[in-house]
């Protein structure tokens, strides 16, 4: 969870977050970047911080960091997004700024936590029943979730199952099942398990 900062009391929460963002932008050290991003992502867990985070455009910072090469940064960034996306204002921002493709990309990550956070973020961004954003329940995504739902990894399996049951229509799932055999689009499973063969 978020740490208690040793900071001048008069600087306050906003000042501290500002300092974190500044350090992230300016530092050359990968370690420092990871630490700061993790700190911000943990702050994103508490709804009381959301107005500050929006003001400092931390949401955009998270979305940008999804394209980083450093896998740890991606893991922390998608974790931060997963923490704050259930909030309606944050959700709108992510949808409007074209965050969906970036998040769907995370489904292909070899990092287990990244994939889990991505699946959860997609669920929070969709409303129950297929409807709000068609990209979130597009064929590749549903196929990917189908594969996840057969995974040996319990957490992934559970999340994928919830996605298929609550956020896809039965016809979409059925279609994805028939397509799976032919589709050239494969989203590989995370490295933590052997690939599933149909």
């Amino acid at each position: 969870m978020a740490q208690k900062p040793k900071v001048d009391p008069h600087v306050g929460r906003l000042g501290y977050l500002q300092a974190l963002v500044t350090e992230f932008q300016e530092t050359e050290s990968q370690d420092a970047k990871e630490q700061v991003l993790a700190n911000l992502a943990n702050f994103a867990y508490d709804p009381n911080n959301y107005q500050y985070l929006r003001q400092l455009q931390v949401l955009d910072l998270f979305l940008d960091s999804l394209s980083e090469e450093n896998e740890t940064l991606v893991e922390f960034a998608i974790g931060g997004l997963c923490n704050l996306c259930p909030d309606r204002a944050n959700r709108e921002h992510i949808l409007q700024t074209g965050g969906i493709p970036l998040i769907i990309n995370c489904l292909s990550s070899p990092n287990e936590e990244t994939v889990l956070s991505a699946v959860t973020t997609i669920m929070y961004l969709s409303s129950p029943g297929s409807g709000s954003h068609p990209e979130l329940t597009a064929m590749p995504v549903v196929q990917c979730m189908l594969r996840f739902s057969l995974s040996a990894n319990t957490r992934l399996r559970n999340l994928a199952q919830i996605f298929l049951e609550d956020f896809c229509s039965p016809s979409q799932v059925a279609e994805a099942r028939t397509w799976r055999a032919h589709s050239a689009l494969g989203i590989p499973l995370p490295r933590t398990e052997a690939p599933q063969q149909p």
Binding site: K4, V36, Y45, T120, A152, N158, R191
Partner: protein, 367 residues
Amino acid sequence: MASSGGELGGVFDHHVQRAVCDTRAKYREGRRPRAVKVYTINLESRYLLIQGVPAVGAMKELVERFALYGAIEQYNPLDEYPAEDFTEVYLIKFMNLQSARTAKRKMDEQSFFGGLLHVCYAPEFETVEETRKKLQERKAYIARTAKNKDHYMTKKKLVTELKDTKDFRQDFHSGTSGFCATTQNTSTGNLDPCLPYSCELPLCYFSSKCACSSGQHMDRASNFSQDGRNHAETVEHCMYNDSLQKIQMKPFKNSLACPGAQKAIPSSEAVDRFMPRTTQLQERKRRREDDRKIGTFLETSTSSNEVMIGPLLPDIPKVDMHDDSLNTTANLIRNKLQEVISSVPKPPEDKLEDVHTSRPLKQRRRI
């Protein structure tokens, strides 16, 4: 990032305690040394895995210690889980997530019967339904907190506006663009209380323009809206919002001004009717005494000559106590209360009346 098996009870990466980070910059060092880790709702769970429990048959004490943080639904030792020599591993399931989070935070790295406990979450033990419920609760919690915050902020803003209405109006006119931009940013219409902060802070993630706060907000607003038209609409929307707030403020202001108004109006009435002031005071006193004698109080009696401005104080509900003496007492108390309330604008008269009946009434000079 391999885990040694997807089976339940296997070792997972998230069970492993990571090394504490020792390269943190001073300003962001916490009170306790911690590892670099992000906790999401996926990782947190009602299930806690406790490692490093000395094998001294202390399961009962362990559970009791954890039960301090919340009700426990079930617990069991995990015999097949790899553990160091002479230590055991337990799984504890709490009734709710918040208890589990508190327990984890407090009990991790605590000593127990000579050993150091390592506590972590074990979400892999959840069923599909439990996971689903967990995600839904998180969403509901955020929605609730956001709604309360909006409510609180709007109330707070109204109160602060009331206190310095003049200042606010000036600030509003000078900081209109900033105000509007933040209203647009937070689509829930949340009034941004951080406006004073933004004046001091020059840097923001995307702003390449110079460090003027209102300019900054304008820039972000234009990033948001595709065309200038949207921005103009937002400005109108802001003005409308604010004028609504001003209207809401009026009755509030008036109720505060009520005592003053009550003072002022009778004197003007006196001037209009050419009645000497003493008569007014004596008349009111007489009326109050009449009411006391009758033993009932009607609000309209004292206010028939006075114009009540602002919200009326709520009428004290009369309850029949089914006992004569109790009823009399209640009535006496009620009347006294009403008397005190009605005599608030004119305290000196009552006081003098009660204490010094022999001395003639001092006439208060009224403007």
